[in-house]
């Protein structure tokens, strides 16, 4: 008697997930933090003058250039050729630090570009990030 070996393959298809119809796009952290991607940049905070509003040394700041700054917004200003994070006091037209150790800075009206953008959020890594090295300053 001759036997021949035949391999039989059956495709396994399983069951469709009952949740398949309810699938939606995953949450994306960009969506939450970046409203205007083309006008937004990230920076890293350096110093402790904004501790009182919850921005600490080494936090990542999300800065939106397209937004119009409102009274007491946290903003980034160009100051002495550097970016500085300040509070915008619209009523007194000056920039404040969130700390008594730093005096307010008056905004010269002729220089309209002094405000670079509005800090819409700041990010703290409670465990050190492998992407960002912070030197204690």
């Amino acid at each position: 008697m001759i036997f021949s070996l035949v391999r039989i393959e059956a495709g396994i298809s399983g069951f469709e997930s009952p949740a398949a119809e309810y699938k939606e796009l995953k949450l994306n952290i960009d969506e939450l933090l970046v409203e205007h991607p083309n006008a937004t940049f990230l920076g890293i905070s350096n110093g402790d003058s904004m501790n009182d509003v919850g921005i600490f040394n080494g936090d990542v700041l999300v800065v939106d250039r397209s937004m119009h700054p409102r009274h007491m917004d946290v903003v980034v200003a160009t100051f002495n050729g550097n970016f500085s994070c300040k509070l915008f006091d619209e009523i007194n037209q000056c920039l404040l630090s969130a700390s008594d150790d730093y005096p307010p800075i008056n905004i010269d009206k002729s220089d309209s570009f002094i405000i670079e953008g509005v800090v819409t959020s700041s990010i703290r890594c409670h465990r050190p990030s492998r992407f960002i090295n912070v030197c204690a300053s």
């Binding site: 006008a39 110093g47 550097n82 994070c85």
Partner: protein, 418 residues
């Protein structure tokens, strides 16, 4: 109506976006290997620093005037260009990105809702500056060539404040009469010299040139330019970019290359670059050129060139590398300090419609190439590469004055004082 939106000295402007200290200083940007000046900002232009001149010739002048010198930071420019184009694109129903710093807008249905194009141009200009900190000029007119002319004037003549509109015969004559014929879009150096002999000096002279003669004396392209300058649209672009007819990769070395292995490695690197571009646009190469040269400033400049014809057209990096290994001896010369090398793919055919050869079937491993491209797309260029490309490149591009990759590398994001 069309608009041409064009950044002012784009590379130099990009350098000032994250370094506000540079916004009021003269800035120049150098080409690959810090060889020549490729961009100068307004303050540097005011110091009469010539564009495209070799850096070593004007180094002293730069030091004397405290000019800020930067190497080309392509990672930064590409990202800022992308953002700038997105902002510009918001303002019309059709956008055509012409180069890294120039974009055409076509107002089709938008044209009905814009009643003041000059004001609209100003809105675009302000928005781009506010959101990206890049200064642009806007030219608006009824044809792409006229829009380009308007943009030219908006840039050159201060009174326009960065926005020029050609919307009637007066404004057309006004703009074109101020423009040299050589500055018209599509008029090259040779044509411009020829036109000047015929007493055509300004763009306005050219627009008055008889259309029939333009075709007979010059070419159909020039005829089209004349028509466009008269407000008759002749230039159209396809919604889909047509694939390139030729692909080159060439670069000068950071330091002179004397040995064959290094030259071979650099040519292999160029092969990997062009092969990836071929695959990206689904083309195959039939005819590949390979060249290596010393500097034209040397006492005895050497320029060597060689060719290879692929019987079965290819876009497989390994097939192309094998060809390079076969012909490298024909370009290498002992005791020559090579300064520049490159690969050119000259005869390209469409992968989809290729004519197969019965006796020499293609040996391309396209599955492997797709895998290679996917890995490198996901994890960065040259994550996986051919050993022929070498590991450490002593001849790599020199970028001594490189600014941080502010927007593409975590370690480089700008510091904000708190």
């Amino acid at each position: 109506m069309y608009a041409l939106v064009d950044a002012n000295s784009f590379y130099a402007s990009c350098e000032t976006v994250f370094d506000p200290d540079l916004r009021h200083k003269p800035v120049i940007v150098l080409t690959n290997n810090d060889g020549c000046i490729c961009a100068t900002n307004r303050m540097a232009k005011a110091l009469n620093i010539p564009k495209f001149s070799p850096y070593f010739k004007i180094k002293q002048q730069c030091e004397r005037h405290n000019v800020v010198v930067k190497s080309s930071n392509y990672e930064l420019y590409a990202d800022l260009s992308h953002k700038m184009m997105n902002v510009i694109g918001r303002y019309a129903d059709e956008q055509y990105i012409y180069s890294i710093d120039e974009s055409f807008l076509h107002f089709k249905n938008f044209a009905n809702i814009i009643d003041d194009f000059h004001a609209y141009g100003t809105v675009i200009r302000r928005a781009v500056y506010k959101e990206t900190r890049l200064a642009v000029c806007v030219g608006i007119a009824s044809t792409p060539t006229l829009a380009k002319a308007a943009n030219h004037i908006a840039k050159k003549v201060k009174q326009y404040r960065g926005v020029a509109v050609i919307d009637d015969e007066n404004s057309r004559i006004n703009v074109l009469s101020q423009m040299k014929v050589g500055d018209v879009w599509g008029i090259g150096r040779k044509t411009s010299a020829k036109l000047i002999i015929e007493n055509i000096h300004t763009a306005l002279d050219l627009s008055n040139y008889p259309v029939g003669l333009a075709k007979r004396h010059f070419s159909q392209d020039i005829e089209r330019t004349v028509r466009e300058l008269n407000g008759e649209q002749c230039i159209h672009w396809d919604a889909v970019k047509s694939p390139k007819k030729q692909i080159y990769s060439t670069r000068s070395f950071g330091q002179r290359v004397f040995d064959k292995d290094s030259l071979h490695q650099s040519l292999s690197e160029h092969v990997s670059i062009v092969a990836k571009k071929l695959r990206h646009q689904a083309s195959l190469v039939k005819y590949m050129s390979l060249f290596a040269s010393s500097s034209p400033f040397d006492d005895n400049p050497v320029y060597k060139k060689s060719f290879h014809t692929f019987i079965a057209p290819t876009n497989d990096t390994s097939v192309m590398l094998a060809a390079v290994a076969n012909i490298i001896d024909s370009v290498f010369v002992k005791n020559v300090g090579f300064y520049r090398a490159g690969i050119g793919c000259l005869d390209l055919i469409d992968e989809e419609y290729q004519q197969q050869d019965l006796f020499t079937p293609s040996i391309d491993n396209s599955a492997l190439m797709t895998c290679l491209d996917n890995i490198n797309h996901r994890y960065g260029r040259n994550t996986v590469k051919f050993a022929a490309q070498g590991i450490e490149h002593q001849w790599a591009m020199r970028r001594e004055f490189l600014s941080p990759h502010y927007t593409t590398r975590w370690a480089d994001i700008p510091k904000i004082d708190c």
